[in-house]
């Protein structure tokens, strides 16, 4: 019998409407432990609404958002199970970074020794006793991540965590995400910029206008799954297209008359043409970047 695995995060038919605006519509996806999942979509796509609903901060109009089958507010010890960094992390400006964490540690019943540990982990120990109003954006983001790690949670949720980080900070954050997933944690990280997370995610969930556009391993959702794409210009374009379709390749003509063959490398297309003595004027591999695929997905349906 196949083993049944429970997803760390399960979103099922989630919908949320703010007045006349449908922020999220019938959204379903899951996040597995031990993997970094990128939650991608343009600004206003519904990412933050989804994450805040998952964390019990927004009440959905329909559907469910659960951790191992339980809503966030039903978890017996929420901050020990889920750590979250939300966009525009806010702190009392007059309180020190250390005191901010001490308050959260007390509220979550975490040992106070964790405060020093997470401050070291995010490289903020030296500034821990300074008031937060003197922190840079990057330092505030590190403090927010420290807060998320306080309870040593199984699930990490980060909403646009690279905002305000400088390039070394972004690299540090990527390494952190990979390290946390390697420890078996489920990591869900949202971004409106694919380039920010492409190097660190295993899976992606792409949404636009509150609707799911694709989910699964990065390569299958945003390229790689369809195989290579070849652009070919032939004297008998219709004949070559028919021959390729007979071999189950997807072929379409672009406005200039060239053929775009999905799933076939130039060598394969060349062999078919040679076999049937079709003269070729152009035969090149088309590079379809992740960004191209991302834009196609998110702009396809408005």
């Amino acid at each position: 019998m196949a083993a049944v695995t429970t997803a760390a995060i399960e979103i099922q038919d989630l919908s949320k409407r703010f007045g006349k605006v449908q922020a999220v519509k019938d959204l379903s996806f899951s996040v597995q432990a031990g993997r970094v999942t990128g939650f991608l979509g343009p600004n206003g796509a519904g990412k933050s609404t989804t994450l805040r609903t998952l964390l019990g901060l927004i009440r959905p109009n329909g559907g469910t958002a659960t951790f191992g089958g339980a809503r966030y507010e039903q978890l017996p010890h929420p901050s020990a199970h889920v750590g979250a960094v939300l966009e525009e992390a806010s702190f009392h400006p007059g309180r020190s970074g250390r005191n901010h964490l001490r308050v959260l540690a007390a509220a979550g019943s975490h040992p106070e020794s964790r405060v020093g540990e997470v401050l070291e982990q995010v490289d903020l120990a030296g500034a821990a006793d300074r008031r937060v109003k003197g922190y840079s954006m990057g330092m505030r983001q590190r403090l927010a991540i420290a807060a998320a790690l306080l309870g040593d949670p199984d699930v990490l949720i980060l909403d646009e965590p690279a905002n305000g980080l400088d390039p070394p900070g972004i690299r540090w954050m990527r390494d952190l995400l990979r390290a946390e997933a390697a420890r078996g944690r489920a990591v869900l990280v949202s971004s409106h910029l694919l380039s920010e997370v492409a190097q660190s995610v295993d899976d992606v969930v792409v949404i636009s206008h509150g609707v799911l556009r694709g989910s699964g391993p990065l390569a299958s959702v945003l390229g790689g799954g369809d195989g290579p794409v070849t652009r070919v210009r032939a004297a008998d374009a219709d004949g070559l297209a028919r021959l390729l379709r007979e071999r189950s390749y997807f072929v379409e003509a672009d406005p200039s008359g060239a053929l775009l063959v999905q799933g076939a490398a130039p060598e394969v297309v060349g062999e078919v043409a040679a076999e049937h003595r079709v003269a070729l004027a152009e035969l090149v591999a088309v590079s379809r970047s992740l960004e191209d695929a991302f834009f196609e997905l998110t702009e396809a349906a408005g």
Partner: protein, 247 residues
């Protein structure tokens, strides 16, 4: 609940606003006590309420409580607070208890300091002083009012998220509306929380709060009315908080 209460008390202690307002409360209380003890000649009957109700902590704990709850919205810390305590009712209950406890402790400390300073000055001037039992009773009544007003301030702060509006609103209520009510409609004014009810609980004569014509409630009834105010404001505030989307 204990963890949340501890967190709320820690929140309260780790801001400069708390330290500043506590300092002002200590300073004004001792100043009033010294001025009254030095400049007036209280009788045996009046000395207890003339000198030993100089504790101003009740006013400052109301302001601190409003700052404490409205600051969660102002600084957007409400999100991290509710991530740590997703049960919003428990969060609000812990905050209410924290400010009641803070009011109680602050008032006890200030009232004891006022008692020591007042007794020293009155004794030095050979003026009448209260019995120790009477003095302890007055200190406890002062603390009771501070605890109730701490809770009331917090509950009122849940109704008005805008911090300046909430603070100015309560000050206008305490220093303009309530005295006007006591003067013009004493039968209504005797239910005013910041003046009449507080005076009833502290057993201060009605004339001392400008309510010569008001028939103040008994201390027990005043406590019940105050608890009803707190309960009503808390219930409405809790419903609003539970319905609110934090986006």
């Amino acid at each position: 609940m204990t963890a949340l209460l501890r967190a709320e008390l820690l929140k309260l202690r780790t801001t400069r606003t708390f330290i500043a307002l506590t300092g002002v409360a200590v300073g004004t209380s001792l100043l009033i006590c010294v001025l009254v003890s030095v400049l007036s000649e209280p009788t045996q009957e009046s000395v207890l309420t003339d000198v030993f109700t100089s504790d101003t902590s009740a006013l400052f704990i109301v302001i601190l409580a409003i700052v404490g709850i409205t600051g969660e919205w102002r600084h957007r810390t409400i999100t991290s607070s509710l991530l740590a305590a997703p049960d919003r009712l428990r969060f609000l209950a812990a905050k209410t208890l924290a400010f009641a406890a803070a009011g109680l402790v602050l008032s006890l400390l200030i009232s004891i300091a006022v008692a020591i300073v007042g007794m020293v000055i009155l004794s030095a001037r050979d003026l009448p002083t209260p019995e120790l039992g009477e003095l302890v009773g007055q200190i406890l009544r002062n603390a009771e009012v501070a605890a109730l007003l701490g809770a009331l301030g917090l509950a009122l702060g849940t109704l008005v998220r805008n911090q300046p509006v909430a603070i100015v609103g309560v000050l206008v209520l305490a220093f303009v509306i309530e005295p006007t009510l006591l003067a013009l409609a004493p039968d209504v004014g005797r239910f005013a929380p910041f003046s009449a009810l507080s005076a009833s609980i502290q057993q201060i004569p009605a004339s001392d709060v400008g309510a010569e014509d008001a028939n103040l409630l008994s201390p027990g009834l005043a406590v019940l009315v105050m608890l009803a105010y707190i309960g009503s404001a808390f219930a409405v505030g809790a419903v609003l908080l539970r319905r609110r989307d934090l986006n």
